[in-house]
């Protein structure tokens, strides 16, 4: 089935709203920006063909306000809604309401969104589709014998975790069968003391995991391809700070293998649109499914740089009911790309730094891309996410890409607010980063020296 999409309402703000509007312009599709009262002066409002104020500053009353967004689509005759990321992008309810109102939601079907939003259901579905899952017991372990049998099955090291807990209490890493019984008892005692619940469970422990994700494109005709991986290991409190493509840890063979797993899973669940499989990768190149994101990712540009794909265009083309448009053989990974998320934050303490941007130098030249809704004089409002720009570079090799990012960070002068530019400069200079030998513990181990 093919549908015409002539006008898209962009149900988002900031850089991703601009990003979507850029591609719509390139496709000759009209755009409607929606905005809160705090975002009247935003770039997405200025570059869209139409703009509708949908509520006051707080997200709950504007960017999460489903009736206001649907009404805005209706009064402007938009025939599709692009949700971007965050806000309503993974709301099955919103996708369903769009469907009911005869507005094409640019993303997968509501039932698929709902399934992937439920961790237990997603894990079950992915296991059935042959996707590897981190071995372990979601059910509580009662006895030392049970623990030992399970641990031997999944292999050491394992981690004992409090079912009710968090924050390290009732948590024990066990590296051999000998240590298991005593650690189980200690963990149960600790868990009981801390959470009044002695239940613990056991899972494979990955010492120095990497966070690797696979970008897929799937159309409504069950054509599915992948665009390779993104390296997203460098995080702080589960927030990604910078991303790369390809990953310095992934060989061609491993890429093909992870990609094939993701493609097969998409076909089995009837996925359509762009999507991302997030995997944990251990030091032995074993990978384990964590979750699937059923939307565009913040870090999609690094994939665009190395494949020349336009993932927003892909999403829109797929939403019209057309074929995805390339075969796996046509996907070539060229060079290396890095993205730094520039946040309006103190680079050491990570406290938000909203306010007026008094100077903003946009770095140019070879292999530099900036996705932003900011401009000189723009006021970063305190109500939303602190990311104000994405600085992306592309070069022939990872080493050249790091050098280019260092140059671009130096040229990206932002005054009036604090940003994470100095943090990224220090990460670029870090030896472990440069060698590519890092895990999700990178930021814990990283010393920010001023």
């Amino acid at each position: 089935m093919s549908r015409k999409i002539q006008k898209i309402l962009v149900a988002n703000r900031g850089e991703i709203a601009c990003r979507i509007i850029w591609t719509c312009k390139e496709m000759g599709i009209k755009t409607v920006a929606v905005h809160s009262e705090a975002d009247r002066e935003s770039l997405h409002v200025k570059f869209a063909d139409e703009a509708v104020c949908i509520g006051p500053a707080p997200s709950a009353q504007s960017y999460l306000n489903i009736p206001a967004i649907i009404s805005a689509a209706e009064i402007t005759d938009a025939d599709a809604i692009h949700p971007g990321y965050g806000f309503l992008a993974e709301s099955a309810t919103f996708a369903k309401i769009c469907e009911d109102c005869n507005i094409k939601f640019i993303g997968p079907r509501p039932d698929v969104i709902a399934m992937m939003g439920d961790k237990v259901e997603a894990r079950r579905t992915m296991t059935a589709a042959g996707v590897p899952i981190l071995p372990g017991s979601p059910d509580p372990i009662e006895s030392a014998e049970e623990a030992k049998a399970l641990a031997l099955k999944i292999g050491f090291p394992v981690i004992i975790k409090a079912a009710a807990g968090g924050g390290g209490r009732g948590m024990r890493i066990v590296r051999s069968a000998d240590e298991l019984a005593s650690n189980l008892e200690t963990a149960q005692t600790e868990a009981l003391a801390a959470f009044k619940n002695g239940s613990v469970y056991i899972e494979r422990y990955v010492e120095r995991p990497r966070h690797i994700e696979i970008q897929v494109l799937a159309d409504e005709h069950n054509n599915v391809i992948h665009l390779g991986e993104r390296e997203c290991t460098i995080q702080r409190r589960h927030q990604k700070l910078l991303e790369e493509a390809p990953s310095p840890a992934i060989s061609k063979e491993l890429r093909d293998k992870m990609g094939a797993v993701a493609v097969k899973a998409c076909k089995e669940i009837g996925y359509s649109s762009a999507g991302t499989f997030e995997f944990l990768l251990d030091e032995d190149d074993q990978f384990y499914f964590m979750e699937m994101n059923t939307r565009i990712q913040v870090e999609h540009p690094v994939t665009e740089m190395v494949t020349l794909a336009d993932i927003v265009r892909n999403q829109i083309v797929i939403a019209t009911g057309k074929d995805v448009g390339y075969t796996q053989d046509e996907v070539q990974i060229s060079g290396h790309s890095i993205e730094c998320r520039i946040n309006a934050e103190d680079p050491v303490k990570f406290t938000p730094s909203p306010g007026r941007i008094t100077a903003f130098n946009f770095p140019g030249g070879p292999g530099v891309r900036v996705d932003t809704a900011a401009y000189p004089g723009y006021v970063v409002p305190p109500y939303y996410d602190s990311m104000i720009a994405k600085l992306i570079v592309h070069a022939r090799t990872r080493e050249l890409a790091i050098a280019r990012m260092e140059r671009a960070l130096e040229m990206m002068v932002i005054e009036g607010i604090k940003t994470t530019i100095p943090l990224h400069q220090r990460i670029m200079a870090d030896e472990n980063f440069r060698r590519g030998t890092f895990s999700t513990k990178f930021m814990e181990e990283f010393k920010y020296e001023v």
Partner: protein, 159 residues
Amino acid sequence: MAAEGRSFDMDELQSLAALVNEHGFTDFEFENENIRVKMSKAATVVAAPPMIAAPAAPVQAAAAKPAAASAPEVPVDDDADLHKITSPIVGTFYRAPGPDKPPYVSEGAAVSAETVVCIVEAMKLMNEIQAETSGTIVKIYVQDGQPVEYGQPLFGVKG
């Protein structure tokens, strides 16, 4: 926290004011668990306008929201003295409960807080909008059947 025996800390406010001045902000808002502060200033010279093109094509809903889509300007409000009844939701404005019915209110009508002044249709629901003020309707800003956005003035009321 305010210093003992005072309702606010003057030093804190002075340093905030100094910060605002130093950075040349024209609007400044700050809120934490203890205080909420807002400071505004008229800019003496308008800085170079944000380097933006006005929307390329006139917008369909343009008539409904002249200020929203155009370049930042200080709009001249001829009705600055009037109280505005604004739309609390996005939707389509109707002056009457049905096509053959008389309008809820017309110019010259006296309204009280509970008076229904119009309907804004959103997602097939007819939402009755109350005046939430009392006075006399002196202006109607929106045509029957026209789309309206959040916060858009619908009626001007003289108290």
